[in-house]
């Protein structure tokens, strides 16, 4: 068993990236995720593991520093919150196009615009449907505990290098700011153990020069490149779906929620079962690829689905696509940095499915 600590989600993530053998962090302060950069700065990771740490002049610069580092085969990372993630979209699109691995953390806050610093899940569309320009996807991991903030650091890098594609950890202010017990893994070495045939570290006489680019002015070649990327995304859909089911075996009603919202709904499930209502919770852990199949499988066995989000209703579209009209899919959301309470969600569930 590793070391157990009481930590904020943001701090646990920062500690975990050092232990995961991250090579470089480039970031810019923004609430509610500044603890990541602050924690790393206090840890002096260049002394602990040789990890590079640099506060960039902007989120735009930070993601492009990640691009440069990733192009040399390094495990590079950036973190931000919603408005800053919007600024990084250009770089993320380029990284997918150039097939560069990296880890990005979005500790979501309420929007649109400058919005609020309270927790939110309003960046679901941006995270799962591309985010920037072009046909692309990034793997999206949604932690719902401080432990998962730590665990997904290592997992994120692993998946990023497996697919040579950015991986986004989609967290929110509640998970980033809360403290829980967290068990940290042992320090991993910072050595790279992947295929390095594509990296730009200087052309040696024994190989062709390597080029990192997303540009191809020949449309037919560009289409081929797009097909290659799409095949990669299909592979992610085939192999990387992750989810958690709680009390689903005998459930008549299903709540679908992720991240902090799933924690709230876990309590709703408890409260409902105390009242004799058989409710289960499906918590998607990967938002892309989405656990569509498991929802399809469950639709035959249940009477209704309630999707709960800290948004006006984004993930619910994927739930409805999966349910395909076979069962009623209701939605409840809170916005602007507010969160629902467990009994509030139960009230909605009863009103939607039991009081009719």
């Amino acid at each position: 068993m590793g070391q157990v600590k009481l930590m904020k989600g943001n701090e646990a993530f920062a500690e975990a990236v050092i232990r995961a053998g991250c090579d470089a962090y480039f970031g810019y302060p923004i609430t509610p995720q500044s603890e990541v950069l602050e924690y790393l700065a206090a840890q002096e990771p260049h002394k602990r593991t040789g990890m590079v740490l640099l506060q960039a002049e902007s989120e735009v610069a930070a993601i492009n520093m990640v691009y440069g580092a990733a192009g040399t085969g390094k495990r590079a990372l950036t973190s931000s919150s919603s408005p800053g993630i919007s600024l990084k979209q250009e770089g993320i699109s380029y990284m997918v196009g150039a097939e560069l691995p990296c880890l990005i953390l979005n500790v979501m806050r309420g929007g649109p615009g400058l919005g609020t610093i309270g927790p939110s899940q309003a960046d679901y569309f941006q995270a799962t449907k591309g985010g920037g320009h072009g046909d692309y996807k990034v793997i999206v991991l949604a932690p719902s505990s401080v432990q998962e903030m730590a665990d997904f650091a290592g997992l994120g890098f692993e998946l990023a290098f497996k697919y040579r594609n950015p991986v986004l950890i989609l967290s929110d202010g509640a998970i980033g700011q809360m403290m829980e017990k967290v068990e940290l893994s042992e320090q991993q070495p910072r050595t790279t153990s992947f295929d390095q045939s594509w990296v730009t570290t200087g052309k040696s006489p024994d190989r062709e020069r390597n080029i990192i680019t997303s540009l191809n002015l020949d449309p037919s070649k560009m289409e081929l490149h797009n097909r290659k990327l799409q095949a990669k995304f299909a592979g992610m859909q085939e192999n990387e779906v992750r989810y958690e089911r709680i009390d689903c075996d005998d459930a008549e009603y299903l709540i679908v929620a992720y991240g902090s919202c799933a924690r709230i709904c876990q309590k709703t499930v408890k409260l409902a079962r105390q009242k004799g209502i058989k409710v289960g919770l499906l918590r998607p852990i990967t938002l892309f690829p989405y656990p569509t199949k498991i929802i399809q499988e469950m639709t035959g066995k249940i009477k209704g689905i309630l999707t709960v989000e800290l948004s006006a209703g984004q993930m619910v579209e994927d739930v409805r696509l999966a349910a395909d009209g076979k069962v009623k899919v209701a939605f409840y959301g809170r916005m602007g940095g507010t969160t629902p309470a467990p009994n509030e969600v139960l009230g909605v569930l009863e009103q939607q499915f039991l009081n009719s």
Binding site: V4, L6, T31, P32, I117, G173, A174, Q177, M178, M179, E180, K181, S260, R263, I264, C265, Q266, K267, T268, V269, K270, T339, A341, P342, N343, E344
Partner: protein, 181 residues
């Protein structure tokens, strides 16, 4: 055991760190713990609150709207969270600066004159530990020994000389808490 607590007051009163010490001590007793702050742009002087849960089971929602215990340290917090105490639950407040005291009849109300006591002890920084002591008198869910351990582990070494004063303050809080209704 499952204890759901809200601690609320002015920023700078030590609301968040009091919650953290409580959670830390709970962790040392092998409990599941969560500490969910309201976080805001105000570094000092604004309102701050934190939800702390200590439980024998895996904690589901760290975000709640009803609490077993509410520790409310200014008027705004009292106005906001008095209705959120579960029937039969506990409300602890410091009467210093309070013009509208709590009114509910279906909960236990206790007061602790922590601000007055802290100034008597010539140490305003021990205010939150006096309040913590008051809470632990009513709900001894963590031991004083573990609270002291929590202080040792979470305070930077340069502040360790303050631990005896904090321990004293916790004991004082246990003595001066008084049931109002």
């Amino acid at each position: 055991m499952n204890e759901e607590i809200i601690i609320a007051g002015f920023g700078g009163q030590g609301v968040l760190s009091m919650g953290k010490i409580l959670a830390y001590a709970g962790m040392m007793q092998q409990m599941e713990v969560s500490w969910m702050p309201s976080y805001g742009p105000e570094m000092r002087g604004g309102t701050a609150n934190v939800t702390v849960i200590l439980s024998d089971e895996r904690i589901s929602s760290p975000i709640l709207n009803q609490y077993d215990t509410a520790i409310l340290l200014n008027q705004q917090s009292l106005d906001k969270f008095e209705p959120s105490v579960k029937p039969g639950g506990i409300l602890i407040f410091d009467p210093n600066g309070i013009t509208r005291p709590p009114q509910r009849k279906d909960i236990q109300i206790h007061q602790v004159e922590a601000a007055t006591e802290a100034s008597r002890m010539m140490s305003s920084k021990t205010f939150n530990m006096i309040v913590l002591g008051a809470f632990l008198k009513l709900k001894p869910i963590v031991t004083l020994e573990n609270v002291v351990h929590a202080l040792q582990d979470s305070l930077p070494a340069r502040h360790h000389h303050l631990i005896p004063a904090n321990e004293e303050a916790i004991k004082r809080g246990m003595e001066i808490i008084r049931k109002v209704s």
